[in-house]
């Protein structure tokens, strides 16, 4: 942080900048926590970016175009999140396609449905689609979920991030689910031979990941006020990088909540710092690629060293 402060002649330390950074970090962290669970159980999910766009668009359509009450639109969006999570899990655990391919495919598939359900439209709370008669009050209420003044200008999203973090922390470190997914990711064969509920727990992992994607998307929509079908796609690499920096292993069995949240903070600090310094998007992309490959290389090297000792 010091480096960026000096190099950007103090620009980095502007309160607005830091608060914006914290908001971005919150989105990364919420998405990252779901991905962490999937990585711990020994699988991978590349579809959370598409799910972010799909669930948020589904919510926007139900809320703004179909004039559903907000709670029902939320139930609709989360219901679909659960469906897609189970969809991913079905292809990885029952059909037994490698999860990398299964979720790469489903992400395109889901994006197609996003375009279908939203008619390829961008939705904005300030300009609801024609024929919408969603009340101004309920739109105001929705915007207030993550776009309201807090003391010291803290972003509301950070509060939500803390809520999600606490829930995930409890689940991962205090529940039998959190305990056993580490075993499943650590040694799938041994888990199957010990008759641990491998499939069921993988379903839950994918569903949790889809739910965090919907949560991050809906919170961002509440803050920004617009949702485009492809909004979530840009999160794919930053979130992966954040989770891997946070210490989760792509080989399964290892990952934790505080690591992922710290990874999200570190990643958003560096990427924000870079965007203040560099003139183009290239620096960000190069940085993300470097971080992702670098973190995975470290993960592999560490594991090899452990195996040898």
């Amino acid at each position: 942080m010091l480096v960026f402060s000096l190099l950007s002649h103090g620009l980095f330390l502007y309160v607005d900048n830091l608060l914006g950074l914290l908001r971005y970090a919150s989105s990364l962290a919420i998405l990252g926590l779901g991905l962490t669970v999937v990585l711990i159980v020994g699988e991978i999910d590349l579809s959370f970016g598409a799910l972010y766009g799909f669930c948020t668009t589904a919510f926007a359509v139900a809320f703004l175009a179909w004039n559903w009450p907000m709670w029902l639109a939320l139930v609709f969006a989360y219901g679909l999140a659960i469906f897609w999570g189970a969809f991913n899990a079905f292809f990885t655990t029952i059909v037994k396609i490698p999860s990398f391919i299964a979720t790469l495919g489903s992400s395109t598939f889901i994006f197609g449905f996003t375009l279908l359900i939203g008619n390829s439209n961008t939705f904005a709370t300030a300009a609801p689609p024609l024929g919408s008669h969603t009340s101004k009050d309920s739109i105001k209420f929705f915007r207030a979920i993550s776009n309201q003044e807090l003391p010291a200008g803290l972003p509301m999203q950070a509060i939500w991030m803390v809520v999600v973090m606490v829930i995930f922390w409890v689940v991962l470190s205090r529940s039998i689910y959190g305990f056993r997914i580490r075993a499943i990711g650590g040694n799938k064969i041994a888990a199957e031979l010990a008759k641990l509920p491998v499939k069921k727990y993988k379903f839950i992992a994918y569903i949790l990941c889809a739910i965090t994607a919907a949560t991050a998307g809906i919170l961002d929509f509440s803050f920004i006020g617009t949702i485009q079908p492809n909004s979530g796609q840009t999160f794919l690499f930053p979130v992966f990088a954040a989770v891997v920096i946070g210490g989760a292993s792509l080989q399964g069995g290892i990952g934790n909540v505080t690591g992922t949240v710290l990874g999200a903070l570190i990643l958003s600090i560096i990427s924000n710092g870079l965007s203040l310094l560099a003139s183009g998007a290239f620096a960000q992309q190069i940085f993300l690629g470097t971080v992702t490959i670098g973190a995975v290389v470290i993960d592999v090297v560490l594991r090899r060293r452990r195996a040898r000792s």
């Binding site: 689910y177 064969i189 010990a194 069995g253 452990r306």
Partner: protein, 498 residues
């Protein structure tokens, strides 16, 4: 194409030693194999047979000693290129046709794509592969693929053929074909080495059998001394000399405990098996790879599919949900390497460490883990250490303890002391016996007679998917007696089968 038959050749292994760290795998091993004969190689698990094969095949470097091929006038160090290994893990290309698998090794002879010549066709005929010539290898049975591998080795002028447990996954008919190919190689004047646990087949097909014990050269069986019972007795005698075997005393058991009926494996490895397991009993299923023993144990545990009935105290139970526990022989399949010792010990528990909502009680887990540590004599400085930091024997105890501590009515274990030091071995036998005191039973898959003798009350000998005989261990005079009885059952069966 083979003119070696005219010249008599020998493979001379002289004083070969090989160490892996502290373990001595081969210790001044010597043996001689002659062209035109099949030399069988026998030895207990871990005796160094596989190290010898790896050295001959050039996969592993030897530390000292020499391997030479001698003719009447010349002597040359054995070139790896002349050695072909036939086992289950084949080096063939499953996506190519049979003929392409042969052509792929040919050097480019100015052809854009090599065409099959008379030589290839002849060898295919010899190996009775002609009818498969254009079929994709991956779609053919393993037995055919093995013969393709042999054909390819013939084409590349291999002199030495190593058959390493070649037929453990083959049916009797397929095995017969493979043995015919093996004898054919012998008649062509090649040097053939044959390694198998199946003593009956070893005796039937080998001209001489060389014993390897503890990495050293043992007895050479030939002529009238060459029979399965003699070899079995020798195999165990050496072992019992090293450690005083403790036979299980006769114990009392309760009947009507667990009954297995019409038990049929989903791949039909065995059909309509019946087995009674009495309360308090330790049963050893004795069977080599391919006998169906492994499948029996795994299907009873519900980790492989089978149909039939399991009755526990006359009540039918679902094998997938029976509460029976299973521990695999290989620690890679029973230990969670990313978890601590304590976590490994409690991983199979749910109700005793968590409440109905699924929240884990840290205190209960700790208590349970430390109880298990005491009860199952696990030597570790702390339960918080990574499980991989323990010795192999202690890791094995952790794997077994995590299963037994759930107090199952039936525990099924594969080779529970494979690769384990002697003191841990004794500990494991003690804790298995201890476990059966609490209205439960243990079924083991054993490949070594000494293990059966040390821990089991009853041995059920399995061969080619059939339970061919039962031996009450308390009725055996000594380990040698047990080994002879087992050998008798397995040889009788293979004679009636073939």
């Amino acid at each position: 194409m083979i003119n070696e038959s005219a010249i008599h050749k020998t493979l001379q292994v002289k004083g070969v030693s090989k160490r892996y760290g502290k373990t001595i795998a081969l210790n001044q091993l010597s043996l001689t194999a002659r062209s035109g004969e099949i030399l069988g190689i026998a030895g207990p698990n871990g005796a160094g047979k596989s190290t010898l094969i790896k050295i001959l095949a050039g996969e592993v470097e030897l530390d000292s000693g020499s391997i030479t091929i001698n003719t009447s006038e010349t002597s040359q160090s054995s070139p790896v290129s002349q050695v072909a290994v036939v086992h289950q893990e084949l080096q063939v290309y499953p996506n190519l046709s049979v003929i392409d698998n042969l052509l792929i090794i040919r050097e480019n002879q100015g052809q854009f794509r090599p065409k099959s010549s008379k030589k290839e066709l002849e060898i295919l005929e010899e190996m009775r592969l002609s009818k498969f010539i254009d079929e994709i290898l991956g779609e053919l049975p393993l037995a055919v693929a093995q013969r393709v591998e042999i054909a390819r080795a013939l084409l590349s002028d291999s002199l030495i053929f190593l058959f390493d447990e070649p037929n453990s996954a083959l049916t009797p008919e397929e095995s017969e074909d493979l043995f015919n190919a093996m004898h054919h190689l012998k008649n062509l004047g090649h040097i053939v080495l044959f390694v198998t646990h199946r003593l009956a087949e070893l005796v039937e097909h080998s001209n001489r059998v060389q014993l390897i014990i503890d990495g050293k050269t043992g007895i050479l069986f030939e002529g009238s001394a060459l029979n399965a019972e003699n070899i079995a007795a020798q195999l165990v005698m050496e072992e019992s000399r090293q450690r005083g075997n403790q036979k299980t005393q006769k114990r009392a058991f309760e009947s009507d405990f667990i009954n297995i009926q019409n038990w049929t494996h989903h791949r039909k490895v065995f059909k309509d098996l019946e087995l009674e397991i009495r309360s308090g009993e330790i049963i050893a299923i004795v069977g080599v790879e391919g006998s169906g023993g492994r499948e029996l144990i795994r299907s009873l545990a519900g980790v492989e599919n089978a149909t039939g009935e399991i009755l526990v105290k006359n009540k039918k139970v679902d094998p997938k949900n029976s509460g029976f526990v299973f521990v695999a022989a290989n620690r890679d399949s029973s230990i969670f390497p990313n978890l601590t010792v304590g976590e490994n010990l409690v991983i199979r528990h749910s109700d005793s460490i968590s409440n109905k909502l699924g929240w884990v009680s840290g205190k209960n887990s700790k208590v349970l883990a430390s109880e298990s540590k005491e009860q199952y004599t696990i030597k570790t400085e702390s339960l918080g250490l990574n499980v991989k930091s323990l010795s192999g024997g202690n890791q094995q105890k952790v794997a077994i303890a995590s299963a037994l501590s759930t107090k199952p009515v039936l525990a099924l274990l594969e080779e529970p002391t494979r690769g384990v030091d002697l003191s841990s071995k004794a500990d494991i036998y003690a804790l298995l016996k201890d476990h059966t005191k609490s209205k439960s039973a243990v079924v083991l898959l054993c490949t070594e007679e000494s293990e059966v003798y040390d821990v089991a009350d009853r041995a059920c000998v399995m061969q080619l998917g059939e339970l061919v005989g039962e031996i009450d261990i308390s009725s055996c005079a000594d380990l040698e007696d047990l080994a002879r009885k087992i050998a008798k059952f397995t040889t009788q069966e293979s004679q009636t089968a073939s």
